[in-house]
């Protein structure tokens, strides 16, 4: 097996995540799909790190994980406060600015 297959898998997972973001209405599931995309990117970074034979890719993947953790904390806090004021986690209901 060629290690390039890891890149194909990462591309596939990223695509599935992106499609999920477009399809789903529930804000939590949309957020989970974003996490899936971040993870796919991390897999690509790790595979590239192996390809080039240095650890820079792994360091970048490590920073991605840290940023993802911070992002999840703030994003979920936003979803919770949105749910409190609106009693729904659907992205369609947040349409106050629509005419």
């Amino acid at each position: 097996m060629n290690p390039v297959n890891y890149l194909y898998l990462a591309a596939l997972l990223f695509t599935i995540g992106a499609t999920g973001v477009l399809i789903r209405r529930n804000a939590i599931v949309v957020f989970m799909c974003i996490e899936l995309m971040l993870n796919a990117c991390n897999l690509a970074f790790v595979a590239f790190s192996r390809m080039h034979g240095n650890l820079d890719g792994q360091v970048i993947a490590f920073f991605t994980m840290v940023v993802a953790a911070a992002e999840v904390v703030v994003g979920l806090a936003i979803i919770v406060s949105l749910f409190r004021s609106r009693h729904s986690a659907s992205v369609d209901d947040a349409s106050l600015m629509k005419l």
Binding site: M1, N2, P3, V4, Y6, L7, Y8, L9, A11, L12, L13, F14, T15, I16, G17, A18, T19, G20, L22, I23, R24, R25, N26, I28, V29, M32, C33, E35, L36, N39, L43, V46, S49, R50, M51, H52, G53, N54, L55, Q58, V59, A61, F62, F63, M65, V66, V67, A68, A69, A70, V73, V74, L76, A77, I78, I79, V80, S81, R84, S90
Partner: protein, 280 residues
């Protein structure tokens, strides 16, 4: 470090692991997108993340593999599950389309994007895989630490600032200011006496019922179920289970069956009659 990591082609074991676990990862990702309930999505995503951790380990990223399990499946997915519980597990996604044809358009866009990405990888000249044998020679964690604390030290410190900002932001966003003073116990008691309703304490949950679960309304001495025995939070959420009549009916059916089996007819147990009257 195994010599396979340096090779152009991987070992048979790794290939087997890739095809089996890769299939499972894709299935997990698909069910994250297509499961109707958020809890199921979260669990499938956790499975996919564990498989990705195995792939990191297979690619020589030992530290990241462990961090993936600890941070992603351990912390982030549990955070997701907490929020799903908070927002309501039973709330299924509405399947109504607000924009007509949006779902098919999204699928089409996803397909096109996937083809574009995969064609791009296919066309890139990714012939040489150097492997991490040299980079990991002094240990993967030591190698990463050298990079993080020398070349990437500014990024590392900015990360610290980011984490603090995120923690403060989460606290600010979820904090709710009290608009009025909380009533003291004395004021509550006085209010209750003034209203003249339910002056004694509320009945305890499930005392007279056949079950003692807190979400089941207890039976009053006259046999009627009382919602007052269920806690106020559950009452407001509408999560009261009423099995008192159900259980009585079950019991009746059971006794009827046993009577048929014993070929008895007219004898009716006294406690059943009493229960029947109570439920009426």
């Amino acid at each position: 470090m195994s010599p396979q990591l340096a090779a152009y082609s991987t070992s048979t074991g790794e290939a087997f692991q890739f095809w089996v676990l890769g299939t499972v990862a894709v299935i997990g990702a698909l069910s994250t997108v297509f499961m109707k309930k958020a809890v199921h999505s979260a669990l499938s995503l956790a499975g996919t993340m564990i498989i990705l951790a195995v792939f990191y380990l297979a690619n020589g990223a030992y530290f990241l593999g462990i961090v993936q399990i600890v941070v992603y499946t351990g912390a982030i997915m549990m955070l997701f599950l907490f929020v799903v519980m908070l927002v309501g597990v039973t709330a299924a996604d509405s399947l109504k389309e607000t924009i007509k044809g949006q779902r098919w358009l999204a699928l089409l866009c996803g397909l096109g994007f996937g083809i574009l990405l995969i064609a791009g990888i296919g066309n890139a000249s990714l012939k040489e895989f150097n492997g991490l044998a040299q980079a990991n020679a002094n240990g993967n964690v030591e190698g990463l630490a050298t990079f993080i604390f020398t070349k990437y030290v500014f990024a590392f410190e900015i990360t610290g600032a980011l984490l603090i900002t995120a923690a403060v932001g989460a606290m600010v966003l979820t904090h709710r200011e009290r608009t009025e003073r909380a009533k003291t116990q004395r004021e509550l008691a006085e209010e209750r006496v003034r209203a003249g309703k339910h002056v004694p304490p509320l009945p305890a949950p499930g005392v007279y019922a056949r079950h003692n679960a807190v979400d089941i309304a207890g039976l009053l001495p006259d046999g009627t179920p009382s919602e007052l025995t269920v806690s106020k939070t559950l009452r407001e959420r509408g999560q009261i289970r009423d099995v008192s009549t159900e259980a009585l009916n079950d019991l009746k059916a059971l006794e009827q069956r046993s009577e048929e089996r014993l070929e008895r007819t007219a004898v009716e147990p006294a406690n059943l009659k009493r229960a029947e009257e109570a439920s009426k």
